[in-house]
Amino acid sequence: MKHAWALALIALLIAACGDDGAEGDGPAAARPTTEHPAAETAFPVTVGSGEFAVEIEEPPERIVSLSPTATEMLFAIGAGESVVAADEYSTYPEEAPTTDLSGFTPNIEAIAGYDPDLVVAHTDPGDLASSLAEIGVPTLMHPAAATLDDTYMQIEQLGAATGHVGEAAAVVAQMQADIDALVASLPERDDPLTYYHELDVTYFSVSSDTFIGQLYGLLGMRSIADEAGAESGGYPQLSPEFIIQADPDVILLADAICCGVDATEVANRPGWEQLSAVQAERIISLDEDVASRWGPRIVEFLETLAADLAALELLEFEAAQ
Amino acid sequence: MSTLTVDRVSVDLLGARVLSDVSLSVPSGRWVTLVGPNGAGKTTLLRAITGAVEHTGRIGLDGRDVGRFGHRERARIIAVVPQQPVRPDGMSVFDYVLLGRTPYVSYFGVETSADVAVVADVLETLELGALAGRAVTSLSGGEFQRAVLARALAQQAPILLLDEPTSSLDLGHIQQVLELVDRLRCDRELTVVAALHDLTTAAQFSDRLALLVEGRLVAEGRPDEVLTREVIEAQYGARVRVVTDPEAGLIVVPIRADGRIGQAGARRLR
């Protein structure tokens, strides 16, 4: 990971001209991109590879983002002024042009109404990409990242697609540096901190090999749902009995905002008063907007979480301010 | 002892007048048969008597308005053998006949040993004892008809209505069932109102006939008064001869329109 950004810098310096597009794999890739076109001028460019490859003729000036994470990424790499419309959940940054467009049930005509020259989406229900292709609009598919490398790759692809390659590389480099610094500052642990990350009131949770599970893993934490994770694609529904018996060190609520769950409610659940995390009030409410996205703010997520854990005396950490 | 009176009864169904102003009197212990072409309203009249359809006019029992009776009280007085009775799945003959005791069992109650005794008695009378444990769905047409009759008798009602009880039976069974009903009528002093298809059979068993045509009572009286050649031709549109036979009584005989008998090759008589 430390080498990827160095490679990116070198690639920039080598500045391969011509039509070579950024050679990223499809969204499921586990390896980072290796080559980039020349800094700001290599258009037309092909982003992605195989069936996900998208050809972009010119630097897009009217981008429609149907993915809140993509919106954050676009603004972070300096392509924000090219974004003319963002979906209804694109709440960050504030200056993002949020509209009524839906990222889950996109309406082609509504999107076309913004006269886009590039659309970025995280899911394709019902031939969004092919319908847009018929009207000459390229769609870049960036589904939810499975690993941190996916995040970096998506940022880089957006950089290539919008002609902000240098800024994208810088963002990625900064993220990696920040995360490395954070991880390095944490003391070694023999036994990982166990956690229960609650997705909703019916006890859906995450296992350690999901994206957010990997983020937790960076802080030396392990999910109690790992036993159940393998068979449920990483998002199992846990039995409350099991949660109580597993007695996680900390409880993280990702349903605090959407469903109004707070520490008091958790404590009132039948049998939950037995949990040491409840008794010691080690319940953290997460900002779902940050916790459910895989953009540049994962750094903020990690730093805030580390600070919260330190405040609960679960972690030795001092925020570098 | 129960005289059934039907007084100016009319029934409207789905906007159509099915019965108009029918008045009829059935003396206690007598057998009155309703006859008439299809769609005349025979079944409707029987249903009006049991309270299954709404009607104007008055249906009286010994002078009392039957409409004022409660459900169960009415069922203790009037029992009906329907035209196409339902054969419930998985029910034994005994349980089926036991249903006839429903008017005597309280809403949330259960049958008593007295009820059981009545059923046993009725089954014996109708020679169904051996079939008591069999499922009603496994009975033949004739056997099931006896079971339905048994159920009606278990109601111990003085008035018995029969709606085409013989339509699915063969000649032998028709006689069997009707002789049985007549015997029961005598033994138990039942008042019988039957709707019958066949005019000869109707004549053989009834004290009086009531001829219904398109919802109106067109003729009423003794069989020989009602079943005349002219009346039948007018109301049924059929050519007949009405013959009196010393053994069979009144016989209504259809005659072919062209006067022929038999098929090609047979001689034309007369």
Partner: protein
């Protein structure tokens, strides 16, 4: 022959005892088995200690007790109540409509409760709102069905069933629309629709107990009358049964009880059809046996279904409605084939 009624009574008692014994065993199994591996001896000791005067040693620690009495026990009790209610409601509907495919959701309860639950979830109402909304939705749907059926075809059951289909279709359409507009709550809504007993506590049990008990008793009280109704409402009426009133009361009781059950447990399917059929196949078609035995067998069925739901992918959970569907669908095929041979 004169003993036929007594023979029925004896047979009934036998089946009740067998089913009752099965229920006790199933409840014990439900208490002993679970994703938090509690020692079975400890569980048995805790259960025995409930009896007045018993004070055996060797029970569970505090956490084990909390798991047993605050999580498992209410869950098992809820399974008993919901399973028994759905089964007897299904049998009641089958008796009223004289149709073996009638189930407790026939007149739109499921669609109405589903819509109520969806609205409660997307509007972000608290946990307490959900059961109430589901209950109101379910009963309102059936009321609408009844009104529509009456205005269309009078007393006919056919018109009622068709009205139920129409109302259900409409409500499902509305629900789908609402869900689409709030796609982020999809998982929670579907979780409810597929049925689950895991979030129930004693509060849920106490909440639905009065409805379920009253409804079950009301249906049971009409068992003889449902037997009489099996010859059709016209013939039953001629024998003194107020058919329309009986059908109305049974449907009302079955609907209320079902609405209460699904309000906390979600839409658990197949219990209302599978269980009464199973009981009929084994014990005969008289409602005097089918109704009471269905309550017990329905309870057993759901206790085991819930056991499987929490053990099959332990420590993960399966929605219990998925388990009942997996068992119910093949069973359904069996019933259909048997019925076809009889035709």
């Amino acid at each position: 022959m004169a003993d036929a009624v007594t023979i029925h009574a004896k047979k009934r008692l036998r089946w009740l005892l067998v089913a009752g014994g099965l229920l006790v065993a199933s409840v014990l199994a439900g208490l002993v088995i679970g994703p938090a591996a509690l020692p079975w001896r400890g569980v048995v000791v805790e259960v025995v200690n409930l009896l007045p005067g018993m004070e055996l040693a060797g029970g569970l620690d505090e956490r084990g007790q909390a798991i047993l009495w605050q999580l498992r026990a209410p869950r098992v009790v809820l399974a008993v109540m919901v399973g028994g209610m759905l089964a007897v409601a299904g049998a009641g509907y089958q008796g009223v409509f004289r149709n073996p495919l009638a189930d407790p959701y026939l007149l739109g309860v499921a669609a109405g409760a589903g819509l109520g639950a969806t609205l409660a979830i997307v509007s972000g109402g608290g946990r307490g709102v959900l059961p109430v909304a589901a209950f109101v939705g379910g009963t309102a749907a059936v009321a609408a069905t009844y009104a529509l059926g009456r205005s269309a075809g009078g007393r006919s059951t056919h018109s009622l069933i068709l009205a139920g289909v129409a109302v259900a279709a409409f409500l499902v359409a509305v629900q789908t629309y609402v869900q689409q507009r709030h796609a982020d709550t999809l998982r929670e809504v579907y979780g409810w629709i597929l049925g689950r007993l895991l979030t129930g506590g004693w509060g849920d049990v106490a909440g639905i107990a009065p409805y379920v008990v009253v409804a079950a008793i009301a249906i049971l009280a009409h068992r003889r009358l449902l037997d009489v109704l099996s010859v059709g409402s016209a013939e039953a009426g001629a024998m003194g049964v107020p058919s329309t009133r009986v059908r109305l009361v049974v449907v009302l009781a079955a609907t209320l009880g079902t609405a209460a059950a699904v309000s906390v447990a979600g839409l658990i399917g197949f219990v209302g059809i599978v269980v009464p059929h199973l009981v009929r196949m084994m014990a005969g078609t008289s409602y005097r046996i089918v109704l009471p035995v269905s309550i017990l067998v329905g309870a057993v069925f759901l206790v085991w279904a819930d056991l499987l739901a929490r053990m099959l992918v332990s420590p993960g959970e399966l929605p219990v409605g998925v388990v009942t569907a997996f068992v119910g669908a093949p069973f359904f095929t069996l019933v259909l084939r048997r019925a076809r041979r009889a035709w």
